[in-house]
């Protein structure tokens, strides 16, 4: 089985001027598979699926709560990767998981579990560049793209090395802090995206703290796209998959009306 090529897919859309929209859904919460389908039907270019972990240090209250609900409901990495095989949405799926999930399963085994479940990429937020070698090698072997995170605190000489190791896209961390909705987009969001665009041709996608349609538009003035995390998960918890569909459509419309897609 070959899964959709994450980077090829995102590049070809990006290269027409289309802005990339990547909603995040916590695996295992009520209605999550329908939320994935709804988000794709509403214009998502890829989906990030969170594998819940007991100690999510990069996540704020909303995603923490969703993770806990999923764990309380009995979700495991195995159950989520099993259920995700049911969805056939035509865009790449990327998992977000903390490193102990990978470490515990074993690098090669986890990489092949992802591939067999139809997953195209992985984001491991507590695995920095220096510690990433073993996982990246196993993921490369299984054709799973390891998306690297780049942080606003990184000095200039670090960014090209992060981008060189990234596959799929570069995740440009939008602010100093954990996931969660904020009133305004941090100035660091576009600043870092700009620094990354200057050193890489890979798609640069801003995530963490991009909280609504207008912030998505603002980030995309510099970046190639956005991840929408807490804003999506909150709607899933409060209003179910329909609320996710409505929100993703709203962000899609805002991006499409602001950034004209060239006919290619």
């Amino acid at each position: 089985m070959t899964n959709p090529d994450l980077e090829g897919h995102l590049r070809s859309r990006r290269d027409t001027g289309h802005k990339l929209l990547v909603p995040y859904v916590t695996g295992g919460v009520n209605g999550w598979l329908d939320a994935v389908r709804a988000a794709v039907a509403s214009g998502a270019d890829a989906i990030e699926i969170g594998i819940p972990f007991s100690d999510p240090v990069m996540d704020g209250p909303v995603i923490q709560q969703a993770s806990q609900l999923a764990l309380d409901g009995g979700a495991t990495p195995v159950s989520i990767l099993h259920e995700v095989r049911e969805v056939d949405v035509g865009v790449p799926l990327v998992v977000m998981c903390y490193y102990n999930t990978v470490h515990h399963a074993g690098h090669a085994r986890f990489a092949s579990q992802l591939r067999d479940a139809g997953i195209s990429g992985a984001i491991v937020p507590d695995l920095p560049l220096e510690e990433s070698g073993e996982w990246c090698a196993a993921a490369d072997d299984a054709s799973v793209a390891t998306v690297m995170l780049a942080a606003p605190t990184a000095p200039d000489d670090r960014l090209p090395r992060v981008c060189a190791r990234a596959r799929g896209f570069v995740y440009s961390v939008g602010l100093l802090g954990v996931t969660g909705e904020r009133d305004s987009l941090a100035a660091t969001a576009t600043r870092l995206a700009g620094r990354l665009k200057a050193v890489t041709d890979r798609p640069v996608v801003v995530g963490v703290g991009v909280s609504n349609a207008s912030q998505a538009v603002e980030a995309c003035r510099v970046a190639d796209g956005v991840v929408q995390g807490a804003s999506v998960v909150r709607r899933l918890l409060e209003g179910g998959p329909d609320a996710v569909a409505e929100y993703v459509s709203e962000v899609r419309r805002a991006l499409d009306s602001e950034f004209v897609t060239s006919v290619s």
Partner: protein, 391 residues
Amino acid sequence: MSPSTHSIMGEPTEAGRFGEFGGRFVPETLIPACQELEAAFREAWADPIFRGDLDAVLREYAGRPSILTECRQLGAQLGLRLVLKREDLNHTGSHKINNVLGQALLAKRMGKKRLVAETGAGQHGVASATAAALLGLECKVYMGAVDVERQALNVFRMKLLGAEVEAVHSGSRTLKDAVNEAMRDWVATVESTHYCLGSVMGPHPYPWMVREFHRVIGTEARAQCLDAYGADPDVVVACVGGGSNAIGIFSGFVDTSARLVGVEPAGGAAVGRGHPGVVHGMRSYLMQDEYGQVQEAHSISAGLDYPGVGPEHSYLASIGRAEYPTVTDAEVVDAFQLLARTEGIIPALECAHALAWIAREAATMQGQTVLMNLSGRGDKDVGQMMEVLGS
């Protein structure tokens, strides 16, 4: 320069490894801060002025050196020579102040304005609040909601000292979750804030740096034992939560033939029941389920209620240099009362674990000299013990 391999209780490798344990598993955002801290510590530790300042504040403020006390009644009862290293007599009542004064001086030197800390029993929180007051730093302490309740006295002490205390309601609502929340704070405030980690855990350089700040316990105890008894002890015993008081006293004896014993609570036995895992920035033994979810620890002692352990302890266990047995809450409650009644010393529940092991295993150590780290005093636990013992 860091070595590419490390000698026992020497510097870890450049990647922060003790054997296969340790490392720096933190979000990218924190990497520059960890690198900066490592460089600042390395430079300060080699600077006689910094060392002199730290020695002075340890002596004139914390009350070092701490004394040795031989427990004649209890020793006779158990058939061994029982010697306590009295870290309970330090200012703020535990060994935690050694590390905190070191980190707070370093934070000042780095130009940081604020400390953030996690705490279990509240001793590290109190020590951090104290150092912040002394050095004019802001201080915020995260503490699990369960611990806020069972260590109410220390919560009030921290507030008196001018620190802000935030109760953490996620997960098991104990030390593990307080660490998560402190790390989340640090990710957001890293430019102005130093994370004053309370044990020999976390990402490189913390396990190494915190061990160096506690090395004073072992160095003093080695000289004091030689002075008093003309010999090294046969056994060195300490309780293990993250493992800082244990590593401190072990560091003085690792090159002797003394048995090194780190006592864990039965409900938080990272070495005894755990497997290598990665959480809180380090690869170490960790209690986890079949999918790698971190399990909740359960201990009567808030300071040991932690499912992980510092990476250097995992290393010492893996090479067989130290052993990590467990004791039950019931044994700890007995030991707590035993020391109070026989010696007039009320120990912290944490180090009552070490005594519980000594009392249980005394028959195998007849005639030996057993050095125990009395890591803290029990005042903070008196309220909790009133309930346990029905006053």
